[in-house]
């Protein structure tokens, strides 16, 4: 199938996802369940990654600061800026594309090959809206919280890595963290996160929903979901950076 055809199919799917829900109460309950499944259950991996990511960024920055003209607080400044602007929203979203995206594609793909989606359709349920909309809402609502936590934990990781290895003092690092701070950076990061959340859920759902065949094909869909979610995240990251920062 050509890429243009796939894009058309994806757009058609999005239209159906956002059609009027049959029973709001059921969708509300499902959204809460999805917040737990794809949001809260990802908190652990996000926390571990963020701490070590921040620690490595600050150590790398410190080790590359050869010039004595550069003040030590630059370590804190670069750690904060790179974490808020890129590492937390983009890298964590790529990690979530792997964890959450594969989960969504395999869940919906399995429902497709075991005729559970047909069962929903026969009952008169809009299967796309029922399965995908609560996941979209849960991800767009909850991923920003995860990313804010990730930003905080990365900076804490960076702080301990630098201060414990005596590459900068507490005061220097904290000064760097607070230096030239712009609230718009946080807004930019959160806008990106919401877009990435939407991409992860819809692209993965697309591959899961249109799975054909059996168990092997569910595995293939899951892999494709992760690959394409990651590619689309990187592309939209580029476009959003151009649009918002330039």
């Amino acid at each position: 199938m050509s890429y243009i055809e796939s894009v058309g199919k994806y757009v058609g799917m999005i239209r159906q996802v956002f059609s009027k829900p049959e029973r709001l109460k059921v969708y509300y309950t499902r959204t809460l369940t999805e917040i737990e499944t794809i949001g809260i259950n990802s908190a652990g991996i996000v926390a571990i990654l963020s701490v070590f990511m921040g620690a490595v960024i600050s150590l790398q920055t410190a080790s590359n600061m050869d010039s004595p003209l550069l003040p030590k607080y630059t370590i804190g400044y670069i750690t904060r800026s790179s974490t808020i602007l890129e590492f937390s929203p983009t890298i964590i979203s790529l990690i979530l594309a792997g964890k959450v995206g594969s989960n969504i594609a395999s869940e919906i793909g399995t429902m497709r090959v075991t005729e559970q989606i047909d069962a929903l359709e026969i009952m008169g349920v809009n299967s796309l809206s029922f399965l995908v909309l609560p996941k979209v809402i849960a991800a767009v609502f909850f991923f920003p919280f995860l990313i804010i936590c990730s930003m905080g934990l990365s900076i804490i990781g960076g702080y301990y890595a630098v201060t414990l290895s005596e590459l900068a003092s507490h005061e220097e690092f904290v000064y760097g963290i607070r230096a030239f701070f712009k609230v718009s950076d946080i807004t930019y990061a959160l806008v990106k996160t919401c877009v990435f959340a939407f991409v992860i859920v819809t692209v993965s759902s697309y591959f899961g929903y249109f799975t054909k065949g059996g168990a092997l094909d569910v595995g293939k869909s899951s892999t494709q979901a992760v690959v394409w979610s990651s590619i689309v995240i990187l592309l939209t990251n580029f476009v959003l950076t151009q649009l918002i920062l330039m």
Binding site: E22, R23, V26, T110, M111, T114, E115, Q116, D118, A119, E121, I122, M123, G124, V125
Partner: protein
Amino acid sequence: MIEVKNVNKSFGENHVLHDFSAKFEEGQVNLIIGQSGQGKSVLTKCIVGLMEVDSGSVLYNGRDFSKMNRKERKDIRKEIGMLFQGSALFDSMSVEENIMFPLKMFTNMSKKEMQERADFCLERVNLSGRNKLLPAELSGGMMKRVAIARAISMKPKYLFCDEPNSGLDPSTSILIDNLIQEITYEYGMTTVVITHDMNSVIEIGDHIIFIHTGRNWWQGTKEEIIKTDNPEIIDFVYASKFMKNLKGKLA
């Protein structure tokens, strides 16, 4: 009653259904039989609207399904119950939740009323007290019975069963067959069963349609199918050596 009129369905060059016409009567168990790859499942998917027909029409009590808009189709689907080959129970829901699901989505029943309905449906399929089990904890026969309970929870007018006996032992198969027949008569439903199983044909077939090369090749009652001299049906019904010997002895 469901009426299928001159339905054609192709997948590229592969013509699966050719001018297929048939009537499925109310209050009867209508069986569609035939060898694999003759178009039984495609026909059922066309009737329930999971596939669009290329031409022809499917009438539900005179209402043309192919000409209905989205909302009208949705309304018709609330009158349809379907038992899938693999049961298609929702993995993440318990037995009770599976049965209550269509009620939650499309009725204004209170939780208590829904639970009572679920209990009634489970009792009807002899699975009382299994409300809290998950599909993974059920045997194949039990899964089919839960799927029947879910299918009848909305009191459907039409029931479709896609190979209800596949993967079941002979005694469980008969149990499922009898259950389908009982609920058909009890609720006056139009039931359509796709099967390969000749036991089902003899056991519950009120009206039998033999589909061959995508056409309505033969139709009649279970008494007639045993006596027919149609060579394709003989090949299908008496496929095994045992059945051929039996036919010889009966003759």
